[in-house]
Symmetry: C2
Subunit: 348 residues, 2 copies
């Protein structure tokens, strides 16, 4: 197995990317392509006093780098010699089985969708985020932004991707409870997309349990919640931002009094443990499910440990033969003939 790491993507690249790759390769004996500007990488490796000569790490030269603010089309069409584009190409060509980037999220998604390309049986890949929930488990929200304006059939695929992700990778359920994000719990509540998708989901062999509301992302009553990428992305960004602002507001209140400050110091270990548990963005990264190879997009703030975790996370998809399992599930859980008939009925 080879994992192609975009060594130049992320706020702390290439320093932390190199550090993460070295830690991962030494600990798990798994091969990494370090894709980036060769002379810069070699200089950094030297400066960081690292020796990669005995590790399964290979530098693959890439002349260019995608900036954090550059548009996806630049990564796709203009900078074909960028570290991100070349890392994607290594997967498309079968030289690597997984792609990991902490760079520009929009660009990385495009590389996943169009350079690596959709997996067999899939029309549109979707990004999944595993939120921590009240029951101490995880709830997967998919799609959180790889697509806008999805059609019912795409949400169906997201459901199978989410099912396979929970069952094979997270391991939190063998029969994941699937829901569709809506407003109101009862069948028939929601917008056009939800109303059209609901009957299709009912026809699958998935453990579909109905509409989920915004609050259900955290209740633990669902293992997977599907939605279109527009709604999913808004929800993800709202949740990330609200988490941060709540901690900031608590901090601000605490700083108003000496006693509170003492209290906060005593509470520190508890708060830190909470923060770690709640930090869903750092959980290895978010997989873009449904691509030909594994594609992990991790946070721009990723440090060495986060990069190592992302590489480890990517290797789990390969080790569990995720894409084959996904294809099997598509074939066994979705009665495509029935669904096509229903789709035609909806369109009429």
């Amino acid at each position: 197995m080879y994992i192609a790491l975009d060594a130049m993507g992320g706020d702390y690249a290439p320093t932390c990317n190199i550090e993460g790759a070295v830690k991962f390769a030494s600990e798990y004996k798994t091969s990494v392509y370090l894709v980036g500007n060769k002379s810069i990488l070699e200089e950094h490796i030297k400066r960081q006093n690292l020796d990669i000569s005995k590790l399964p790490i290979e530098i693959v030269h890439a002349e260019e780098t995608i900036g954090m603010d550059e548009s996806p089309s630049i990564a796709l069409r203009k900078k074909r010699n960028s570290s991100m584009h070349i890392a994607g190409k290594l997967v498309r060509e079968g030289k690597a089985q997984a792609f990991v980037s902490a760079g520009n999220t929009g660009a990385a998604m495009s590389i996943g969708k169009f350079v690596i390309g959709a997996a067999e049986g899939i029309e549109r890949p979707g990004i999944a985020v595993a939120f921590p929930n009240k029951k101490g488990s995880r709830t997967v929200l998919i799609d959180v932004g790889a697509n806008v304006d999805s059609r019912p059939r795409h949400l169906l695929y997201f459901a199978v991707m989410g099912h396979t992700y929970v069952k094979e990778i997270l391991g939190t359920s063998d029969t994941p409870k699937i829901g569709i994000l809506s407003i109101g719990e009862e069948e028939g509540k929601g917008n056009e997309l939800v109303k059209d998708t609901y009957p299709l989901l009912k026809m699958t062999k998935l453990n579909f349990i109905g509409n989920a509301e915004g609050r259900d992302i955290f209740t633990g009553d669902f293992d997977v919640i599907v939605c279109d990428g527009f709604v999913g992305n808004v929800v993800l960004k709202t949740a990330e931002s609200l988490g941060t602002i709540i901690l900031e507001m608590i901090k601000e209140e605490v700083e108003k009094s000496f006693i509170s400050k003492v209290g906060a110091v005593l509470m520190l270990p508890a708060l830190k443990s909470f923060k770690k548990k709640a930090d869903f963005t750092e959980y290895g990264g978010a997989p873009l499910l449904g691509t030909k190879g594994t594609c992990i997009i991790t946070h721009g703030r990723a440090d060495g440990k986060a990069i190592k975790n992302a590489l480890k996370f990517a290797s789990e998809f390969v080790n569990h033969d995720f894409n084959n399992k996904l294809l099997q599930n598509l074939n066994t859980l979705i009665p495509m003939e029935l669904i096509r008939a229903k789709e035609e009925e909806i369109q009429e």
Copy 2:
């Protein structure tokens, strides 16, 4: 001015509703119609040792009550003698200027939309929630669930409603910064609805500053963010639920150690002050903007103080002549002719 209070709606009705009405009427000398089952209300007033004889409170009998789980259509068509329906009718008939309910949210929205009805110039009312933001101000999200599948023109109206709400009621800005909820900051990013609405918003005289992302609900960079009711409702419920779960998770971590518990006790005043600030659901309630009279929907958990606040909140809309200001703003800020032409262009 008369405010019609649904005395039977809410988890603690009619006890807290009566308590809130009495406090409000004594403090602000403003008249309240207490709408509900007369004998039950009189019995409760007696039991609570209250005397309403010298207060501007009038009981209006309503035989039925809408249950918290009954569908909006029951409130609209079947239970026409319910406290909620009769309170709405008092506004429609001009006998009251404002409607307040802590009952079944879906039912209250329907009463607002169809019994009270849309204000002049408005096609569809929208529910607004004022979230606290990092700058210590408020960001209004509208619509958070009065409609699903909105069209561009409706979002335009939501923008004017939000503008008027911020300027006249919240008083946090004279030229409210308006955004449209999307994914990605640049013009052209988003789903079909956003892409079609963006050029229309640019044509208005509103202070439209572009796309807002999920995180911007809390940054304070926007005073008003418009969205369709499906997305808005999902966001609202996600935010409410996440706020609760974060506090619960912190509590759980704290309880694991004695030192943390001591810390938490010392931090208590700070945490309480934070909780008060963050409790956006208790901020008087959410106004359903764009109805013929004022329509305030408050939380089912509303206690006496919350009911008093909701009544006070409702009276502010009447005192500030909100609906006339809204109509003026519609006429002066939206160049309808231009927008109609643009709409036709979009449809082609």
